[in-house]
Symmetry: C2
Subunit: 469 residues, 2 copies
């Protein structure tokens, strides 16, 4: 697959004075080695790598600020790097410059258990956070599948399987420490649960994909570990029956913690990959959190609704290890899908629509996919109206890549026509910039552009992502 | 009480050409009558009115856009007016100009019951919305007490008694239609439940108090009416016991729908005002939403916790009319407080702190208030760490006004030192601008100012509010 054709011509030179100053400060934490640059010039997107000129491994907010000041002075692009798990080309150094790797900023700074918040450096991953707070009886629910860094999750406004109950990073970031383009250090908010004190700087940086500032610390909300957890699988005769069940469950206000859809091909792939024996029909995987009585009550309501739509008996995963196996399999759906077609690369869609439009949107998409020249799987965070098509493509077949891009574009058009969005949780990066005007309109884009110009007047922060300068 | 001393000198002239053009377009929906201007140059704050030069009654987004274009061309201040219920001087025309009254934009545009959203013109009030959607089985939970307009609630990031469970306007605005300073019409987001498609324009305008754009339509989240609702009152021997109970309840993750604190004086005032017979001690008022079994379970947990802190027996308000009377009394606490000192005016504080710091913050504040020369009451949305002191002042006594300002400032400093905010839900307006630098720091203010400059380069939108130009 080809990176955008214009990229090489956009590379900006990195002055020797800038590299010298970085080398002096960071010594062997500055690297220009090909392998290191290659590792930092790619993400999980289908694009080939676009290498930064150098990589700096930062260990503190002050170091990030120093790098920003230097890059701003020399007009050098600066791209923050967390865990490398983004999938829309966010990390590609299309204009060259410096990749600033925050993975060594991996300390959990403070847990305020009484307030249900924790503050961590940006390089802490969600799994690390949950590991370190386990003894507090609290947990951090946002779970995008990959073990992403908290800084990266904030920067892409990530969510995942738990969002239907607990919200996304938009709702769960309390405050951020951010380094601005000119190297100032700003804390975006206090730890108060709510505030009306001026513009919402926190929400400005959440989802800004490194283009407005570099997130170095993240304060997130935590939740009490539920007293009882149970998970169940329910098979359906058709995709539509599964989706209609979810619509009714959400409309009833049942506080399901997770409700995930898999189509038949996705089920087949996880059976193969994770050695499970799930019945290969469209299915929903549920998780319920609450008191023992509350969980039972939720499950009974949900069973009633699914039965009305042809859902077969719930298959319960009562033991923690069974639930872990089930969710591990669900999270492996991406890699499982890839194995359905050995040697393939995947292109993933990410639309999100109002739930009343979900069934139509999925059905029309399936109609189109069934005529495609490549196999596919569908998984979805259907409680939010968000689903992903994994299109399994021959990496050497440009025609197939174009075909997938057309299908993705048609799907995005369908989602926008249904008052939805081109991306529920993956972000814009490079790959979805083409859809921004269709989704938001030129006047909204002009506002976003004016914000970018105001916060980053020299266009050094992850330039060429989200919107054109 | 005095308005800021500098204000008269800041008035900008409104060119005759601008007024003529408005008169031509709006005819008798443009008013320069003293009484109309006076009504629109005040809010519920203790400031004396500062009159706009004229008032326009808009009936559509396009009309608002036309007014904005005209004002922008002539550099004339433009102040949006909803229900007039703000309380920090938001609406005062300190630089003169045009007040644009949106109260005739009061149509509920569409209810998407399946998606749990509704879209209304900005002038629709929260009570009107709930009245009009009653038959759908859904409700809109945000309840700031006053029957504010949805546009005004979005503009001040309002919340109130239900926020502990349902969140604030930050979490419950799905999308906005906004008129920009130069008269473009922008929709900030789709109706998808989540999106990662670029900068969060919605959250930029929520809480911007009319300084970045004029909100003309609001899409909000709705919730299924709970199957069961119950409310209860619990008396405590001391303020600290009540607050400690709330802290434990929140930490247990009990999904209380409301938990409101009143001090002894507040209870006495609502008894007098609303002819109730509440026992006059510090108390908490609870409301529980859920299934019948769920509500009972929540109530049992809460009763156990309150009993551990000396809470006396729950007094239940089971019947809807009893609950209505109770919440009406709570909402009347402001006016009830005023009646404790006939002829007084009130100054209200609004800090919000992390809940672990709430008890100390309230206690230190009470120590200071007990030495003051005026009476006071305290009510609080304590589940969020937010409480209000109603200071009952002699309007002719400037020394008392200064004393109250000192106490408020000390309280704000205490809240900021506790990692809290000067305003949980009332907004900055004029009255709290002095605290912005203390709370956010100069670098964060510089970012906010650059946002204001980018979105409103001629400083016409509610100028002189939130931050200095």
């Amino acid at each position: 697959m080809n990176a955008p054709a214009h990229t090489e011509s956009l590379r900006r030179p990195v002055p020797a004075a800038c590299l010298d100053a970085l080398r002096e400060r960071f010594a062997d934490r500055l690297s220009v080695a090909e392998a290191v640059r290659e590792h930092h010039g790619r993400d999980e997107s289908p694009y080939p790598p676009m290498l930064p000129d150098a990589v700096v491994f930062a260990q503190s907010t002050e170091e990030v600020a120093a790098v920003a000041r230097l890059c701003n002075e020399h007009r050098v692009p600066l791209i923050p790097y967390g865990a490398g798990s983004s999938i829309e080309g966010h990390l590609l150094a299309i204009q060259g410059g410096i990749s600033i790797d925050l993975s060594q900023m991996n300390r959990l700074l403070v847990v305020n258990a009484e307030d249900l918040t924790a503050t961590a450096q940006a390089g802490v991953t969600r799994k690390q956070l949950n590991e370190e707070i386990r003894d507090t009886g609290l947990f951090f629910p946002i779970d995008p599948g990959a073990d992403a860094s908290l800084g990266g999750m904030a920067a892409t406004r990530a969510s995942g399987t738990n969002a239907v109950r607990y919200g996304t990073m938009r709702e769960n970031v309390v405050s951020l420490t951010v380094v601005t383009a000119d190297g100032r250090i700003v804390r975006t908010a206090s730890r108060a649960r709510k505030s009306s004190a001026g513009y919402d700087l926190t929400r400005i940086f959440v989802g800004s994909e490194g283009t407005l500032g570099i997130i170095t610390e993240v304060t997130v909300r935590l939740y009490p570990q539920p007293e009882a957890v149970s998970a169940a699988i329910c098979n359906f005769p058709s995709l539509n029956d599964a989706v209609q069940s979810v619509i009714e469950i959400i409309q009833m206000g049942v506080p399901v913690a997770r409700v995930e859809f898999m189509d038949e091909a996705a089920v087949r792939s996880v059976n193969l990959h994770s050695k499970l024996t799930l019945r290969e029909t469209p299915l929903l995987v549920f998780e319920f959190h609450g008191s023992p009585a509350g969980v039972q009550e939720q499950a009974e309501i949900v069973q009633g609704i699914t039965a009305d739509h042809g859902g077969m008996d719930f298959e319960w995963a009562e033991r923690p290890e069974d639930r872990s196996r089930l969710w591990a399999a669900r999270h492996a759906a991406y890699f499982a899908g890839l194995q359905l077609r050995p040697g393939c690369r995947a292109s993933t869609t990410d639309v999100c629509v109002p739930i009343s439009r979900l069934a139509d949107c999925v059905r029309e998409t399936v109609d189109e996919l069934d005529r495609a020249s490549f196999p596919y799987t569908i998984v979805g965070h259907v409680g939010d109206g968000n689903f992903h098509v994994l299109m399994l493509l021959d990496p050497d077949n440009q025609a197939q890549w174009r075909e997938s891009e057309t299908i993705n574009h048609n799907l995005v058009r369908r989602a926008i026509a249904a008052d939805g969005t081109c991306t529920g949780e993956h972000g814009i990066g490079l790959h979805k910039m083409q859809f921004m005007a269709e989704e938001h309109g030129e006047d909204a884009l002009a506002l976003m552009r004016s914000l970018k110009h105001a916060f980053d007047p020299n266009n050094i922060l992850n330039p060429g992502k989200i919107i054109n300068w």
